[in-house]
Structure formats: C-alpha cells, structure tokens
Amino acid sequence: MTTTSSGHHDTLAGAPTRVWTLVGIAVIGVALAVMPLAFGMFDKTPKGAVMIADFKPYMTTARLSGYQFELREINAGVHETDTSVAAYLGGGTSDRFAFQSEYPTFTSFYQQWPAIDSKMTGLMNQVQANLGNYLAVAALPSFKLFPWFFVLPGVLLAVFAIATLVRPARWRRTRWVLVILGVGLVAAPGIFQMFQRAPDGGRMMTAFESIETTQNVQQIQGYFGSMAVGQGAIRLEIVPALERSGLDAAQISARFPAVASLDANWVHILNDMTPMIGAMSDNVPDYQAIASLPPFPLFPWFFALPGVLVIGLALAGGVTRQRPEPSGESGEHPVAVPVNEGVS
C-alpha cells in the first residue's frame, strides 16, 4: 500500500492512524446511511409530511380563533336557551322542571355541554398554543426528504472513505471532500434552523400526544354527535316554540341574540369543524408513526455530531508526505513524515 513515484505523494504505509481515520469515517457514513432504515424513516416520515400538509388549512390564527369563537357562540346559545328562553317559554316563571320536561333533548344536551365545552375549548387552546411550534416544523424541509438527508451524505462519506482505503493516493483530495461533507452535515441543521425548530416540533408532538389518539378522536366524534342533537333541539323545537309564541324572526333575534346567532351560523360551524375533526382522525396513525421516531430535538445532533466527527477525523488524518527519493547511492529509503495540514 505504498505509492512509489517521485514528488509529494500520500501513503498509508506507516500511517495506521489514517487507516483508522478512514475506517472511522466509513463507519460514520454507513451509520448515517443505515439510520433511516433502522428507525423506519422511509415509512414514517412521509406520514409526517401528510400530517403537516393535512393540518395546514386549520393551523392559522384566523382559523383557530374562528373555532374558539364558534365554541363561545355555541356556549352562549346554550346558556341563553337554558336561562332567558326557558324563562320566556315558561311564562316568566322559574319552573325549570316544566321546561326540562317539555324539551328533554335540549335538557340532556345541556347537561352534557359543560364537559363538551371544557374538552373542546381545552383542545383548541392546546392547538392554538402550539401554532408557532407547528409553523416551525412546517417550515422545515419536507419530512419526505428527511431519510435522504441521512442516506446521501452517509453513502458519500462511506464511498469516499472506502475508496481511499483502497487507493490511498486519493487521500489528499478526498480528505477535503470529507471535510466539506462534514461541514455540510454541521451546517445543515443551522441552515434549516433545526436547532430552534426541532425542539418546537418536539413540543408540538408532546402537546398532540393526548390529542392524536383514537380514543380522543372518538370522544370528539361523540361530542360532535351530541352538539348536533343539541343544536337540533334548539333549531327544530325551541325556536319553533318561540315562533308559536308569537315572536317573529326579528323579535327572536332581538330578544335572544345568542340563540338566533347559533341557529343562523350552525351550518357554517359544521362546515368549519367537521373537516378539522376529519383531519384529526385521519392523522392519528400519521402522528403515531412520527411519534415513534427519536425525539425531534435530537435530530439536529444526528447531523451535527457526525459532521464534527468527520471533520475532526479528516483533519487529524493529516497528510503524510514522502521525501523525494534520494538520487544518490546512499540506499536510503523514503521516510514517511506526517504533516497535519489544516490543523496548524
């Protein structure tokens, strides 16, 4: 494994350190290339991309604030029905029992409403609090590409390192390629702001842990059914009762604005909320796939640490120059002299 020609030539002979350097870099390369397979990234990260894309229409300040407004609108309508409408339909008496027995469907819903409201409002608060975290994750390159961010540099590192082990003469040039690849690995998380965004993503994943479960989605589906029934009772029983009492639409709107507002906006609320429930439901498996990956905050380090190691190894490997062969008859043999270029 000795290059024997005149001039400055690299050699591995007498430089076992460099062999280990290249072996080390090859191992890092192989580890990077294999990592996506080991973590099932090729299967899981596309699901993450789907989840991020599916949530996109809903993850805006306007849309999330809209959901909060709609929940408040339902809450106001329900409470107004239970108080002033009940009093009005009861002839001004405080006989709630008569109202409850006259409108059992609404009464049943009213009893369920505090739990529904608490759950739905809490959910929306949680989602809204993570809007910034979501946007940080969404600003990262597509999750679909993530496995390739490991595979491509890993393969390159392994190929260059192994090729140089086979043909040591390539070391001088390869060394700098390896350094550049290492710098690329270190720089990538910085360029993509992964050190800020990945922990944000981690926080989002933690917050969504209790949201993106089949059990939670089914509970919300159940609440949705209850809300539909409760609103149906207001729309189809209570408002008609108000009309039968002699109030026209304008008077109902003036006397019971929250009820009128809920009645008028119910279809819009359904238009708004139903697809969001669909997105939540559809992405339970996607979330769980992503959640089974290593924690988000570690990801920048999966690039940076191998990058630092590669740079360090490539530089520490140095360049071993051979002195020119003596032209005389002294019979001296070439002497390998390690030169740590780039280090000092």
Binding site: G232, V267, N271, T274
Partner: protein, 233 residues
C-alpha cells in the same frame, strides 16, 4: 354465385354461433341458479309509524357499536320519533340502477355543503346539511375505480356488490359501499343481502359499511332499501 354462397354461409354460421351462445348462457345461469338483476331497484320511501320503520332508511352506528344495539347517531332532522333513522325518498331515477353509474352532478354541493345528487335518492337533511347518494366510476373519497352496482338473485336471496355507493355531505364524501373500493370489509362492513320475490318483484336489501377516514371514521352506515325491481329489458 360463389360470393353469394359465401355470404350465406357466413350469415348462417353467425346465426348458429349466436344461437349457441344464447343457448349456453341460460344453461350457465341455470346451472348456478343465479341471475343478475339488471335494471332499477325502485325505492319505497321510508316512513315511520310509531316506533316501527318501513321503506328505505339509513342508520349510522358509533365506533364500537353493534348493528343490533347501536349506539346509533341521532339525526335531529329525522322525521321519526326515533332519530336514529334517517328516511330516504326516491330520486329522479326512482332508485338504484344496477349495471350503470349514477354519478354526482357538477357541482356536487351547494354553497352550504348540501349534497345535490338526486338520481338515487332525494337529498335529505342530516344535522342541518343535506346528504345524498351517488355511484360513480371513480369513488370520490378514495379515488379508486369501482364497478357499477351489481345485484343477483338465487332462490329468492339477493347478493352482490355496491362498492360505488357513496354518500356526500358537507362537501365531503364517504364511501358506503360493500365491499369497500379496495375489496376489503373493515369493521362492521357486511355484504349486501336481501330477498327478492320474482312474482311481485318486491325486494329488501341491507348492507353495512364502515366509514374509513374523515370526520366519521369508524362509524358504520346501515342501509336498508325496499321497493320493487324494474328490469332494464
């Protein structure tokens, strides 16, 4: 003369082949005892009398429920005392046509998200928004190609597939076919079954289909169709 003879022989051969084919077809059908009902399954409108329900209707079972005991989703717009039943009214074609598609119109929804398909059934209100049914070559929820509905009868028992049966509501589509467009039968999805009276042409068809994906993921639609069959011939 030769040309005439040739032409004659070709015609005779073709007729003989056709006759043979015709003779063979019933023999096959007879051997299996099953024959396809190609035409329109004209629907009887749903109706509620007290607690009993007749005609054509639809129910939706919550995830984890059973066909026998529910829990059923209550549609406040149902005209039944038991809101678990959503009644349907025949559409412009009178009902389900087998061997052909009855696709969604364009647009398929109004501005409020109400479904506009009106060939199989008339749009019916479901929690304040109209839903309807269509059968399309490409299932609008999954995007998969599906065959037109096919139903056959053997000894008065109906079987077949309605993969293309798709409910539309709130600008969303829910495949409600059996089997599902990929041929699977998840959850409570059960094949189409029913009875057919060849004299009166009266039929009863039922099947169940689990919703896969979307806001009603995991719910199961229970379809009950009754009426009379009108052959396409």
């Amino acid at each position: 003369m030769i040309r005439r003879l040739l032409s004659f022989s070709v015609v005779v051969s073709s007729l003989a082949l056709a006759a043979g084919a015709l003779a063979f077809e019933p023999a096959n059908a007879a051997s299996s005892g099953r024959h396809a009902l190609v035409g329109t399954f004209k629907l009887q409108p749903g109706a509620c009398v007290g607690t009993s329900v007749t005609g054509t209707y639809f129910q939706m079972i919550f995830p984890g429920g059973t066909v026998a005991n529910g829990k059923f989703f209550d549609n406040p717009d149902s005209t039944c005392a038991n809101k678990a039943y959503t009644l349907t009214v025949p559409g412009l074609r009178g009902g389900l046509v087998t061997g052909k598609y009855q696709p969604n119109p364009t647009p398929a929804f109004n501005a409020q998200g109400g479904a506009l398909a009106d060939s199989i059934v008339q749009p019916q209100s479901f929690t304040a928004i109209d839903f309807s049914i269509a059968t399309s070559q490409k299932d609008p929820q999954t995007g998969l190609a599906v065959p037109p509905p096919a139903i056959s009868v053997k000894s008065g028992k109906l079987s077949g597939q309605v993969e293309a049966w798709s409910a539309s509501w709130n600008k969303l589509y829910f495949n409600q076919g059996s089997p599902k467009p990929n041929g699977s039968s998840p959850g409570l999805t059960a094949p189409l079954s029913g009875t057919y009276n060849s004299k009166t042409h009266a039929f009863v068809i039922t099947w169940t289909s689990q919703v896969v994906g979307g806001p009603f993921n995991g719910f199961t639609g229970l379809w009950h169709l009754t009426g009379t069959f009108s052959s396409a011939k």
